[in-house]
């Protein structure tokens, strides 16, 4: 594989997507973990949907929601002067939505597992709810959150279906590595397909080892 653009684009897109999914996902996970309402499970099901939906279907929903003829897509175009779909930003949105449920599920479980007595002690000794979250809950849930973020990154990096629907397959512009591998197979370029697959496989293995060794280790 001579053209490394798809790899750099994939890394850039998935890093930005992971950052966005990390911030949004942890905030949502915190609310879901603390929100005692039957609606919490409905919201959780909705944000988990990208895990079980076929990626192309997820991509279709996003395309419909963010296309130039939609309200959101139109607002984006008015604000930034270019459409969101079939751009690198579109790829970031697709990767973010794909990564989000992995972050939310892991973070929610980790936050729910924090000993409530430790949180209660902190409240009783005068810490505000924000301080309890910042000083107590999130640090104690850090390993679970870290594992979720790492898995979210791997998911964002490997996304194909949603990305190709929302960002398309424009070489040198929106063609991420998984899409480039598909393209190479279609064109009979085995060497490029093999190289791309090995790179993606290696990154996935590194992430999984990281999740197991760093975030999975008992304290």
């Amino acid at each position: 594989m001579n053209d490394w653009f798809p790899l750099w684009l994939s890394l850039r897109v998935s890093l930005i997507a992971t950052m966005v999914a990390g911030v949004v996902g942890v905030a949502l996970a915190y609310l879901l973990a603390k929100w005692r309402s039957r609606w919490a499970s409905v919201v959780e099901a909705l944000v988990t949907l990208p895990i079980v939906l076929p990626p192309t279907v997820l991509g279709y929903y996003l395309l419909t929601l963010l296309g130039t003829r939609s309200a959101l897509g139109g607002a984006w175009q008015s604000a930034f002067g270019s459409p969101l779909v079939f751009t690198e930003s579109g790829a970031v949105v697709a990767a973010t939505v794909s990564a989000l449920p992995f972050v939310i599920r892991a973070a929610r479980a980790a936050i729910s597992n924090v000993d409530t007595r430790v949180e209660e002690s902190a409240r009783v000794m005068g810490l505000s709810e924000w301080s309890v979250a910042r000083v107590v809950t999130l640090p104690l849930a850090a390993r679970g959150i870290g594992a979720g973020v790492a898995l979210g990154f791997a998911r964002a990096l490997g996304d194909f279906g949603a990305t190709v629907m929302v960002a398309g397959n424009i070489p040198g512009q929106t063609q991420t590595l998984p899409v480039a591998v598909y393209d190479a197979v279609q064109a009979g370029d085995d060497a490029a397909a093999r190289t791309g697959s090995l790179v993606l496989g290696a990154i996935a293995i590194v992430v999984l080892v990281l999740v197991t060794q760093v975030f999975g280790r008992r304290r």
Binding site: D115, R117, S121, A122, R123, V124, M125, G126, L140, R219
Partner: protein, 217 residues
């Protein structure tokens, strides 16, 4: 002289307790069989559980008044707590654990106060230790320092010494008594250990399953 007045019903799914007593400064032991509602009462005083009926107040400060819809947040009750398993933050040093409870905006001041309090409970040398590596007795010393760090109206202790060996338990009982007298605190202690009752209690509130039955000096 301050006094705590409790006259409430507290419920959790499948169980409820009616608690009624008034106590002043000194150590009050809540005594009774497991599941009689002692810890529920403590949770209601701490504000982590809302009573379904009645009033909790310290002098004129109403912590909870169900009929009038009053429920003061835990943060605003000015309490110190010590649980059986200390509930310290293992990712913070003992000094920072205590400093977090000091009510002052300046972190340097809070840390200075924390060092002083750790020294007061015989844990000055542990200020920068790894909290995770502390022994049970050391953790409870730090927890006691933290409990008094916020200049509390009252101390709430739930089985504070039950996981300790006998010598540590004896030392910490003495320390608790000294701190309560020094700071003129109201302290509520939940314990199953008769030795705790004998050594600590200025008065005892006796529980039967689901209600308080008597209070004695």
């Amino acid at each position: 002289m301050s006094a705590l007045h409790v006259d409430v019903r507290v419920e959790v799914p499948g169980f409820g307790v009616d608690a009624s007593f008034s106590v002043g400064p000194g150590i009050t032991v809540l005594s009774g069989p497991s599941g009689s509602g002692k810890s529920l009462t403590l949770a209601a005083v701490a504000g982590t559980l809302r009573p379904v009926r009645g009033v909790i107040r310290v002098d004129d400060v109403v912590f909870a008044d169900v009929e009038h819809g009053v429920h003061l947040r835990s943060q605003d009750r000015r309490l110190g707590v010590v649980y059986q398993h200390a509930a310290l933050l293992d990712h913070r040093s003992p000094r920072d654990n205590v400093a977090l409870a000091v009510r002052d905006d300046d972190m340097a001041t809070r840390r200075a106060v924390a060092l002083e309090l750790l020294g007061r409970v015989g844990a000055g040398a542990l200020a920068s230790a790894k909290t995770r590596s502390l022994s049970g007795g050391e953790r409870q010393r730090v927890a006691l320092a933290r409990a008094i760090a916020g200049n509390p109206r009252m101390l709430l202790l739930d089985e504070p010494f039950s996981s300790l060996d006998a010598p540590s338990r004896a030392e910490l009982r003495t320390l608790l008594k000294v701190l309560v007298v020094e700071h003129q605190l109201i302290a509520l202690v939940v314990t199953h250990d008769q030795a705790d009752v004998d050594a600590l209690a200025d008065r005892v509130v006796v529980y039967e399953p689901g209600r308080t039955v008597s209070a004695s000096e």
